[in-house]
Symmetry: C2
Subunit: 638 residues, 2 copies
């Protein structure tokens, strides 16, 4: 050997591999995980009062940032809050419409939840309120149970029950630190889901935009196209379409201007409110409601009424409500945490997913008791909040107060607001949900992820929201399982002049050592599902290598090194297969060496008595050691 990178004698390295301390038992691991999950991490000794203070501080971040709050921050937050409200009021009315609720419910939802979030949430930029996707989800799933056009009271009851259960789910996810539930949907799935939902929501707006009276309750593209094409033969009023389209164009133009010049971002923020005011005025002046333009009519104003009595946790609907609440809860959290994290990362602070879940949960429970439906963090309004220079969650309080004032004073003015304008406000918010650039970069980077993205997208579009989500989760898990059961394996070679051995496919300059076949198993869990695959691959490679060597040089293959550094765990099937592999290779007259088995693997091999047949002398800490031993073995045997 030209190089000798080791000064520790080889035998002691063997001993190191075999005599490593016992890894923590499964029991310890499980209890450790549970402890880690349930008890807040803290290096200090435990004391009840400290624990309580820590809990309260954890629950109400306002106690921390509130201390340093000053007038300057308030000025920024006040302006941001007002801007937010001007966008939030029309959007809330529109989303309530999407959720098949009266306009005031959208406004209610912009009052209570933001107030709760302001004291419990840790994000500074999130704008809380109703959002498009959750509104769609809610209405599309609940109306399968009860048709709102037939039985509006039961529909309301179900909405509040679902909101309540959503809150309970979210809070308990946070309490039990099940933050990983938000990770169930991969980035690719979210991109596909959002795009699909945006198109579905857009199609639903055709009802308002065309002023149709009858429309389908289904959300898939096929049903909607059918509904629209059959509606074309009915009498419809171009007034609705005209108003909707012209203001949609107006809003889009302001958005375009704002994007070109960041100074004018307030223009795009205020455009929806402006459109509402202008369109209401136009309708009022021309009295076009008498000529077929649909108007909102009466909006119930005043304080949020209590809805505690409408929550029904009894049969027959509670099972359905629980299912819907679970889906809504996860989707709402996924959206909110994605929004929160992206802004937190821009501002350079971290969001604790579990705390956010608790805040969201409490705010929805409180909302469900005060006539609000499911609220969460909105993509578009959070961006406006951020651009408007918000400093803390106080902007949410300002917004809530403004909406509250509007509820008290201005609901009567909404009488003549055309329904079509709500459609155009929702439509104008949708392009932000279709992130085709992200989809393109997913296609470039990872074809499997693109499959997930497209599967989710098409599932939402042609099936339903639930089908889309199921497709996302199934493909994602199938991907993990397939990777686990069909691991790759690499033949390794030496980088000349070094003790570095790496894949000859990845590094073509790496040269395999003649007479020693060196391979690496690239799976982290050698288990029943992949053990046979690995065994067959190894035996095939080795026999092929034997044949090639005989043909080419007449030499014989002498030894095999299996680099196990990537195998993190092994089960009993894996151990049995390892023994078989060893036996079969010995049958082929080959010396087998194992390099760098990981902690759990060497431990289990010892317990299963596998180190005996393989020979403790042939288990090495590094590939280089194994190679050296194999080469000197060859010299000895020659």
């Amino acid at each position: 050997m030209a190089h000798e990178s080791t000064t520790v004698p080889t035998f002691s390295k063997h001993a190191m591999v075999l005599d490593s301390p016992e890894p923590p038992s499964v029991w310890k691991e499980v209890t450790g995980t549970v402890k880690n999950v349930l008890v807040p991490r803290d290096n200090k000794p435990f004391s009840p009062s400290c624990f309580l203070t820590a809990c309260i501080k954890g629950l109400f971040p306002v106690l921390q940032w509130g201390r340093n709050y000053n007038l300057k921050s308030f000025r920024s937050d006040f302006m941001a809050g007002l801007t937010l409200a001007s966008l939030g009021i029309p959007q809330s009315i529109g989303y309530a419409n999407l959720a098949k609720l009266d306009p005031q419910y959208g406004l209610y939802t912009s009052v209570v939840p933001p107030l709760i979030y302001a004291v419990m949430g840790s994000s500074r930029e999130i704008a809380i309120g109703p959002v498009a996707v959750v509104s769609l989800l809610l209405s599309s799933m609940i109306q399968k149970v009860v048709d709102p056009t037939v039985d509006v009271d039961t529909y309301h009851k179900l909405v509040f029950t679902v909101t309540f259960l959503t809150g309970i789910f979210q809070a308990s996810f946070g309490l039990l630190r099940l933050g990983f539930l938000v990770d169930l949907l991969s980035h690719a799935a979210i991109v596909g889901f959002m795009a699909g939902a945006a198109i579905v929501i857009g199609m639903q707006q055709l009802k308002g935009l065309l002023g149709l009276s009858h429309f389908t309750n289904s959300t898939d593209v096929v049903s909607v196209i059918k509904a629209v094409s059959s509606a074309v033969h009915q009498p419809w009023h171009s007034g609705n379409f005209l108003i909707g389209c012209s203001f949609l164009i107006l809003i889009l133009i302001t958005r375009f201007i704002a994007r070109k010049n960041k100074k004018f971002f307030w223009l795009s923020a205020i455009a929806p409110l402006l459109s509402v005011v202008l369109s209401t005025l136009i309708v009022f002046i021309t009295r076009s409601d008498k000529h077929g333009v649909k108007i909102i009519q009466h909006v119930h104003g005043g304080l949020n009424p209590s809805s505690a009595k409408q929550i029904q946790l009894t049969q027959p609907y509670v099972v359905e409500c629980t299912k819907i609440a679970l889906v809504c809860g996860v989707i709402a959290l996924t959206e909110a945490i994605a929004v929160g994290r992206s802004f937190a990362s821009v501002r350079g602070y971290r969001l604790d997913g579990n705390k956010e879940m608790m805040a969201m949960g409490f705010m929805n429970v409180a909302g469900s008791l005060s006539s609000c439906y499911v609220a969460t963090g909105s993509f578009s309004r959070s961006a406006v909040n951020f651009s408007a220079g918000c400093k803390t969650a106080v902007s949410n309080i300002v917004m809530a107060a403004t909406v509250f004032l509007a509820l008290q004073l201005f609901t009567r003015l909404l009488y003549y607001t055309p329904v079509a304008i709500l459609a155009s406000i929702i439509l104008s918010a949708l392009p932000g949900l279709i992130d085709y650039k992200a989809a393109m970069s997913i296609w470039k980077v990872d074809k499997m992820d693109f499959l997930i993205c497209m599967g989710t997208f098409l599932g939402v579009l042609f099936g339903s929201v639930e089908i889309g989500l199921s497709i996302a989760i199934i493909i994602s898990f199938a991907k993990i399982v397939i990777r686990a059961i069909r691991p790759s394996m690499e033949v390794l070679g030496r980088i000349e002049g070094t003790e570095i051995f790496c894949s000859i496919r990845q590094y073509p300059m790496a040269i395999p050592t003649p007479s020693v076949f060196l391979m690496r198993v690239d799976c982290s869990f050698l288990c029943f599902m992949n053990a046979n695959f690995i065994r067959e691959r190894i035996i095939r490679w080795v026999t092929e290598e034997c044949d090639t060597m005989k043909e080419k040089t007449g030499d014989k293959l002498q030894s095999i090194i299996i680099d196990m550094s990537n195998v993190m765990n092994i089960d009993t099937s894996g151990l049995a297969t390892l023994e078989e592999i060893h036996k079969e290779l010995v049958f082929l007259n080959l010396q087998v060496a194992i390099a760098n088995p990981s902690w759990t693997v060497i431990h289990k091999m010892k317990i299963a008595g596998l180190t005996g047949p393989i020979g403790g002398d042939w288990i090495f800490l590094t590939v280089a050691d194994a190679m050296q031993a194999c080469l000197s073995f060859k010299r000895d045997s020659v």
Copy 2:
């Protein structure tokens, strides 16, 4: 640095990492796998005639070993075949009883399938015929559709249809090279399943042993105990119990003798047949059938009749039959391939799972056309075959011929055979299925596997066979997914005096380098499910390390090395998280280095443009290089 194991200059190693060739695309991988799976591997150029010859040779291994077959081998096979038949005849009758079929069907099943297997199978030791577990599976699942005591004709039709479909499934698994289906059940699951099935089968034998007329159709322990306890109050005849128990004890004693002294193994092989003969004689002489001892009565002899017309691939039962056939097919294959592999490994040859599947499939299709039910390789009889010194599958032919002769000549002699003796023959075969030693070693080695084993066992015992299997598969997959989503991570240290870095938990002598935090991510797929977990773990560790260092030495942490050698793949969520981790660590004023990213990972990082922000200079081939760079970076910055 004291040691310099590299002679290649560092910059060229960077280039190596970044300029590695493109890994094969997903498309290429998929087509490659499909090609590998469908086309037999061969290095020779493709020609139709060669292909055909190879196919025929592959399908009929008899063409290869038949050439060298000689008289000496035949002598061994003949003796083994006779021994096999002496055990096989009583077992076949017993298992037919377990499958709720008349005795002759068990004997038929020991004629046709072994003949087919002898020419198509590649195992030399497997003894083909009806087995206990599959018989139980068949009767317990089919009688949920049709009760054999009510409509025996339909029951027969369903049995043959299921057998036919089982064969079709098995053959197509082999044809499509779906050998991995057999791996669906891990070793631990099989141990639990077999033990559970054995106890269930044993409980079912209480009917015959006690001579009960009414019994439950359910297989779970609770129902059987209820049935037995209610039967105790009915009149029952101790004669059945006496005959059954005494011969059971006889068989067990011969087995005990055989185990003590290998010479007498034929004694245990012949004991069941002997018991049948003796007990029949006793009943015939004492005419105890008139005093309540149940006898088999008429057994239909002669050639296997055709059952082709009884196969019904039409509604209403075809869907049920397909389900049952799928379960039976997989279980039968699992058992046969486990048996075949274990003996092949003793004799030092390899079994091709796909070819075995084809052979089993054809033999069951042929069986279904000739009044046989599902046959597979039997644990107990294969062991007898092996002990009796069989050389090739000719022993199966000899056995089939013997059973055939028995069917022609001796079925009339079975008239007075007591039913209880069948129960005791089945009972005597069961202890071999309960492998408590394996269960204990599973407990010692892998607690999760033990959970699978016990789950399957209890599922079969207290639920049903299907519930047990579902539990096995669900826990097994959950195990894989949990390992994938909660990967372990290790802090690495240097083994003094070397360039070797390894886990400080596994190797306590490894010493962390001050001012450089070196960690390894131990998951093979950095994806949406584990990316956030890994990010939080890294950030937590790094902040904790920063705090500890400040407290202890007042030094500052300078750089982080993330060893990615174990990360084999990454998805878009993983890439996004990697970028975030880098950003957050840079916020903490740390230099981040990445060591040894695998092929796919570095490729995707390049496409996603991540090598830019991280800096190509800070991606290294080895941990040692990264460490060197970090240390010199520290010197420079100081």
